[in-house]
């Protein structure tokens, strides 16, 4: 019997071992661009935002493009932000690449220095002299332009109008001091009875928000000296900014400090938050059941230009998208033509209608001041982008900033200690291609 057992055992074991080893080595990125793009096609990779928020713009552009190039079949394929770059890397390693790709403005530098994109003639594009610096800076390398700004999104203050009214505040705060006094009132009124109520919502790993405090205090994430980048989070200015950020959390936020803002609309939608710092669309999302929000809160959110501790408007991280043409694309000219149409002034006008910020300062004035994006348009000119260092994308992907902020927020490390550690980590990879 034991003999039989060991046979059975080894059979099961062998199969399982083979399966284990197979699963160890599998799990690549997979996914290749459509092979049909070879014959008279133009493949465009956009992220899902276009499909969800401004599908009309894509349709209009394709129609205008078809008028000029009736024999070119434009294929727009939508990508998720989380998996987009792995797909792009896999595609770029081969020959069959998309002709236009959308990139985040903090992602481009690494691709540009590694020779992935073709330069484009900047002056051919509409409003290119007035492009938002936070977008166009991310496209510049050694005097050439490697991508075209597409749209921007700025963070603003968002508050519950009904809760503020209950504490006798009818207008959005205009200074940091005013804001803190409103938060004190919210905390006193609602926080005393509900220990889950946060006057201000600021999860610890929300790095793009926390870095606004750093920028406002005159600090930087990284600086370039003699051609080398160095982490600058432990500079006195950066430390001061993070210290006031930490104080805001200590005073007004009661939730989990090791979270990021991924589910912010859902959390705010539970109604236990008075005010938060977010993208303008989150005001709608918090009342939209499709994004985890609460429909009962519809119409109870309003945005305001977020004041910084320095006395100026808080300089927001200007998240934005750019369009680039891969070096390996065989339809460079057509790709440029499509991008020109997709980003010209009439297209930007459509974006403004879809409650998004345009790519240039001129049309920023067309954003309705009393609309949901009015506050964002004000802040956008002070917007910033992450350091344009070759290895910044690696800094982001290895989560150095969120980990540092979590250590600060939870009190595991002092601001000074955490920033020094983070700078050391940044220095290790920020100059690598």
């Amino acid at each position: 019997m034991p003999w039989r057992l060991s046979r059975f055992t080894s059979a099961v074991g062998t199969v399982a071992l083979a399966a284990t080893l197979a699963s160890c080595t599998s799990g690549g990125t997979g996914g290749s661009p459509d092979a049909a793009s070879q014959k008279g096609g133009l493949t465009v990779w956009l992220t899902v935002d276009a499909r969800e928020s401004w599908p009309d713009l894509v349709a209009t552009t394709n129609k205008r493009f078809a008028d000029r190039y009736p024999n070119i079949d434009v294929k727009v394929q939508y990508q998720q932000w989380t998996s987009k770059n792995q797909k792009i890397d896999a595609a770029f390693a081969g020959q069959d690449v998309p002709d236009v790709v959308e990139m985040g403005n903090s992602e481009t530098t690494n691709y540009i220095v590694n020779g992935a994109f073709s330069p484009v003639p900047k002056e051919d594009f509409d409003h290119s002299a007035e492009w938002l610096p936070a977008l166009s800076d991310a496209c510049q390398w050694k005097g050439e332009t490697y991508c075209v700004p597409y749209y921007a999104g700025a963070r603003v203050g968002i508050y519950r109008t009904d809760l503020l009214k209950k504490v006798g505040v009818t207008e959005a705060p205009r200074t940091y001091g005013e804001m803190l006094s409103v938060l004190d009132k919210l905390k006193a009124k609602f926080g005393s009875t509900d220990k889950n109520f946060s006057a201000f919502y600021m999860p610890g790993r929300y790095w793009s928000a926390a870095m606004a405090w750093v920028k406002d205090a005159g600090g930087e994430m990284a600086v370039e000296r003699d051609g080398r980048w160095h982490g600058a989070l432990s500079s006195p200015e950066s430390v001061a900014g993070l210290t006031s950020w930490k104080k805001l959390i200590d005073d007004y936020y009661v939730g989990d400090r090791s979270k990021d803002n991924a589910d912010e609309p859902g959390v705010v939608g539970q109604g236990k938050v008075g005010m938060f710092y977010g993208n303008t669309w989150e005001a709608n999302a918090a009342a939209d059941p499709r994004s985890g929000g609460n429909p009962a809160l519809r119409g109870k959110f309003s945005t305001f230009a977020f004041p910084g501790p320095s006395g100026e408007l808080m300089p927001p991280f200007l998240g934005g998208s750019l369009l680039a043409i891969p070096v390996k694309s065989k339809k460079q000219q057509l790709a440029q033509e499509w991008i020109k149409l997709f980003t010209d002034r009439s297209s930007q006008q459509q974006l403004i209608k879809a409650e998004t910020l345009p790519n240039n300062t001129v049309q920023l004035r067309d954003v309705p001041a009393d609309g949901i994006n009015g506050a964002a348009a004000l802040a956008a000119e002070r917007g910033w982008v992450t350091p344009l260092a070759p290895g910044w994308v690696a800094v982001e992907k290895s989560n150095i900033l969120p980990s540092m902020l979590q250590d600060i927020a939870t009190g595991k490390k002092s601001v000074r200690q955490a920033t020094q550690d983070a700078d050391r980590e940044i220095d290790k990879i920020v100059n690598e291609n």
């Binding site: 057992l5 055992t9 770029f92």
Partner: protein
């Protein structure tokens, strides 16, 4: 495998004028009738598809991985399609000199042992319990175990993450009911020891069904009359288990333990999902570390070197396992 062939004179030229005559005739005559060539080819033909499939899905990537670890591949080479420069042992030297790498190796080993001990103890107890209960309870238990087994890791990890959520998790709420305990807003992942307790729980939860069902199957092979006889001779239950039951199921036990260890050593999904794709450095195990080096920091070669070291360490485990199997086979 190599030793099974005829002994080769050392230093013999590889291309001989006349091939070595296989001593097939001698062997054949010993067996009585010489098997035909076709007959001898059958086993090789039968195993050929497996070998080919393994070479294709395992061999090729493995060779590629090892080559990559001796190069210095960056995105520039990836995008341009040019051959990356040869770096020799540089990647290995770099990781060997990095204290963080050894910290990760140590953590991975500790994690593997912890998961293994908890899984095997729990599985043994469940298997022993299943032998005692009535058939329908046993069937229910088996059904539950299979259901657990069938649940995708993705779902299981999400459920556990919600259970231990700091703000709304039911675990904090339950523990808070205990007198004198304050678990409101307790964050389980702030302290890596607590965080790993949760992660070990997820891993053990997922590994338990396979281990328990296999051990239970092995227990059915234990002759009841042997245990009966031991009990008649006055052996205590613990003695019966130690001297009668366990030796019989030992092959299965060793096999499950080794496999569990191999799985846990390369664990990736549970950590990745529990830390929502952004694990803190305290939560890096070898699999996660290699992935982040390769696909986040884009140091493809450094990531490959870490993966190769992981595979080598796994091979050590596999060798122990195979030796155990062989030794048990010989003992019969």
């Amino acid at each position: 495998m190599v030793t099974a062939g005829p002994p080769r004179p050392s230093g013999a030229p590889s291309a001989r004028p006349h091939p070595v005559r296989p001593p097939a005739g001698g062997r054949g005559s010993r067996a009585g009738r010489p098997p035909s060539a076709a007959r001898r080819a059958v086993p090789y033909l039968l195993i050929a598809p497996t070998v080919l499939a393994l070479l294709a899905v395992l061999g090729y990537p493995l060779v590629d991985l090892v080559t990559l670890s001796f190069q210095d591949m960056t995105r520039r080479e990836l995008f341009a399609g040019t051959a990356p420069p040869w770096a020799g042992l540089q990647q290995y030297r770099a990781i060997a000199a990095d204290p963080f790498f050894w910290e990760v190796v140590g953590r991975t080993a500790l994690f593997t042992v912890a998961c293994g001990v908890v899984t095997m103890t729990a599985a043994m107890l469940v298997a022993l319990l299943m032998r005692r209960v009535s058939p329908w309870v046993r069937a229910t238990m088996a059904g539950v175990l299979v259901a657990v087994w069938a649940m995708p890791v993705m779902v299981a990890a999400s459920v556990f993450r919600w259970l231990v959520d700091a703000d709304h998790g039911v675990v904090n709420w339950l523990l808070g009911r205990l007198p004198g305990a304050d678990f409101a807003k307790h964050n389980w992942f702030e302290n890596p020891w607590q965080g790993f307790t949760v992660i070990v729980a997820v891993v053990v939860w997922g590994a338990l069904p396979f281990a328990a069902i296999t051990l239970q199957a092995a227990l059915t092979q234990v002759p009841p009359e042997l245990e009966e006889a031991a009990r008649v001779d006055g052996a205590r239950p613990s003695q019966v288990f130690r001297h009668i039951t366990f030796p019989v199921i030992k092959p299965a036990f060793v096999m499950v333990t080794t496999l569990t260890a191999i799985w846990n050593f390369g664990v990736f999904n549970q950590i990745w999902l529990m830390r929502t794709g952004q694990p803190e450095k305290d939560y890096y195990l070898l699999g996660v570390y290699s992935f982040i080096e390769s696909f986040a920091v884009n140091r493809y070669s450094s990531g490959a070197a870490i993966a190769v070291v992981t595979v080598l360490l796994l091979l050590v485990g596999a060798v122990v396992y195979v030796r155990q199997l062989v030794r048990m086979g010989e003992a019969e």
